[in-house]
Amino acid sequence: MYKKLLATTAALTTMAALPAVAQDCPIKVGVLHSLSGTMAISETTLKDTMEMLVEQQNAAGGVLGCQLEAVVVDPASDWPLFAEKARELLTVHEVDVIFGNWTSVSRKSVLPVIEELNGLLFYPVQYEGEESSKNVFYTGAAPNQQAIPATDYFLEELEVEKFALLGTDYVYPRTTNNILESYLQQKGIPAEDIFVNYTPFGHSDWSKIVADVVALGADGKKVGVISTINGDANVGFYKELAAAGISADDIPVVAFSVGEEELSGLDTSNLVGHLAAWNYFQSADTEANEAWIDAWKARMGDERVTNDPMEAHYIGFNMWVNAATAAGSTDVDAVRTAMYGQEFPNLTGGTAIMLPNHHLAKPVLIGEILEDGQFDIISQTEEVPGDAWTDFLPESAVLVSDWKELGCGMYNTDTSTCVQIKSNY
């Protein structure tokens, strides 16, 4: 009994100690991105982004009169290590906020730790939705901010009638394709006109799959490919598309995981006209973006490109700085409350707003691949509010997330009850 009491007290003091420490200088910002292993390809860039943002902020005077200090740890693309490093950041380094993670599985690994220790995580990558944690702000796109608008574009502008949903076999493509299948069927596309295929990470033998996609056109319907193929596998996929002579006018491909960074790995001359949907493209023509690109190139070298998750960190970090300033503290709960309704200009123009469901309202851009590996933005929507729970799956349609009014991330509007306070992992 005594022991238990002691333990509880100890735990309470740790909890209580966090905000007290937060007032001290310097303010620590945790950076939880893999610097080695498979995900290092994408995540190292974000670590550099965070270091640059912290430096810029320090040059501008820091936050609350304190300098910021970036605490960088390497979870080495190892999912259990993400949880361990997150715990280390929160309890050993006592950081006030964490920017990090890429891929849903790493986030799901970190979630229980962040929720247990009441940390604050900014997740910068597009993801499959179906989640809203009290302790996470999702600055990447939810499916309705990327997949659904892109599909609408296919349906309305390109009049695609038959869909090939190609993805890497993991949770983001699975869930996204699930939502899209349901969405397309609601739009009147029969189930047999939706072809779904999953390939392993790093898949390289694409000839059969490309041939299958071409064969889909045999019943006279216009075919479009929605690609959630991840990382390296795209290189082989696009090479095979080019070899098969498939032009974007015959079978357009819209990708959700291919950005400037991925295109720098291949010769794009044969891919001109294929599409990608993001909330940011380097080619966006605004002054803020130009300054951002210049700063990035000055730091990292001329050949480096900027991409969507970088912008997500840019917005997330600046919103956090503003929220901490508004709250007058870096205490997690105070900052969280101050985050709702925060506004910050996007690099692509317009303003991002943080919603009470911890998602951003951002514009959706669709770009066509150009010869130089950049994207030509051909469509830009108004700001779309991110939706934690999709409206296109029956189980999720009844759920909403509202941490401000309802104090619940998984609220069932049918039964008017909060399903759970902690999130699903």
């Binding site: 333990a7 100890a10 960088v72 361990e84 849903s104 076999d169 189980e395 039964t415």
Partner: protein
Amino acid sequence: MTNVALDTAPARQPTFLLISNPSVLIFLACLAIFTLGVTVLAEGFGIGVISTSFVKTLGKTLCLCLVALAMDLVWGYCGILSLGHMAFFGIGGYAIGMWLMYARTEIIVVQSLSAAPLPPTTQEISDGIAAQIFGVVGASEFPPIWAVAHSLPLQLAAVVLVPGLLALVFGWLAFRSRVTGVYLSILTQAMTLALSLYLFQNDSGLRGNNGLSGLQNLPGLGDVPQSTVSIWFFWASALALGLGYLLCVWVVSGKFGSVIRAIRDDESRVRFLGYPVEAYKLFIFTITAVIAGIAGALYYPQAGIINPAEIAPIASIYLAVWVAIGGRGRLYGAVIGAAFVSLLSTYFTGGQAPDINLGFYTIQWVNWWTVLLGLSFVVVTLFAPKGLGGLFDFIASKRSPSRHGADLGPDAGALREKEAET
């Protein structure tokens, strides 16, 4: 030292096992002191010098030591370089993870359904759990593999039985057709690859690439802080390691131990002497798989998440490397190797190690640690085949003259691995 002492003075009765093996006592004493020390220093019941995350790291390291022990038994003593033991480790983790996820989700679902106007049917509860668990991977039905996930005893049985049975079937097939040496290594590696590719598929019913997560939250014990839970698991891991060590010592001592070492040294000769070599190998292969499964079942609740990447072939190769660095053919060597390398890895990948500035280039350990690790395998195999354990020999031989037989030295006749020369 341990086993070799037994060779010269075989312990006929198990009661003498500990007495004739001072090193076992030393090991157990060290383990006990270590456990006690960590408990006192940790946050859960002690003064809080050691953070909870480090307690978890230490607990996990103990589990890795246990699986390294199994690896040493199968490779260092029996000469089977299995590149599949981390697969058994992972299976153990999956088995316990299924129950942890199911039970935890069940509590949430029952609670949320209790507010509904109609009391839920069993089907509705089960559907609710399935939607929670598989919602993230775009499914909502329980695959058949989850049939007994609701029952802790059955899943605990699975921790032991599934790796055991898999090892039994695989080993029986392989040993029966006399697949030995490097061929066996490659075959076990293929088995591991097949298993991890299978688990990577969503259709496997184990949430594909996402795996099982949130395992650190024990069902029904949501209010117990992780600092306490981590100590519980630390104790359990230490206990398992202690028991596992005793089991291994018992297996390798006596006549049985001599036979399996003889199989390692010259399989054909043992066979001609009339021993059922295959049965011995199968026994060792299976029992080590079971130990690996138990280690995994203790490891993953501390890690919090298990997914197919954990089972990838490289993990099993690392396991072999730990044992090699620690010194194979001696049980404490495996423990030292696993603890040493995995803790060092934690240190270097944690970003705490200071960068070395060479003036023209800055060595960042995050980038160069793996290079160093890789090269250290080469150095150990070439120059220190006895591994870190060899240091103990070095110290011991200073004090007393060598009393034991042939070693695992580079060109010693004892380890010719003749079968692989073809």
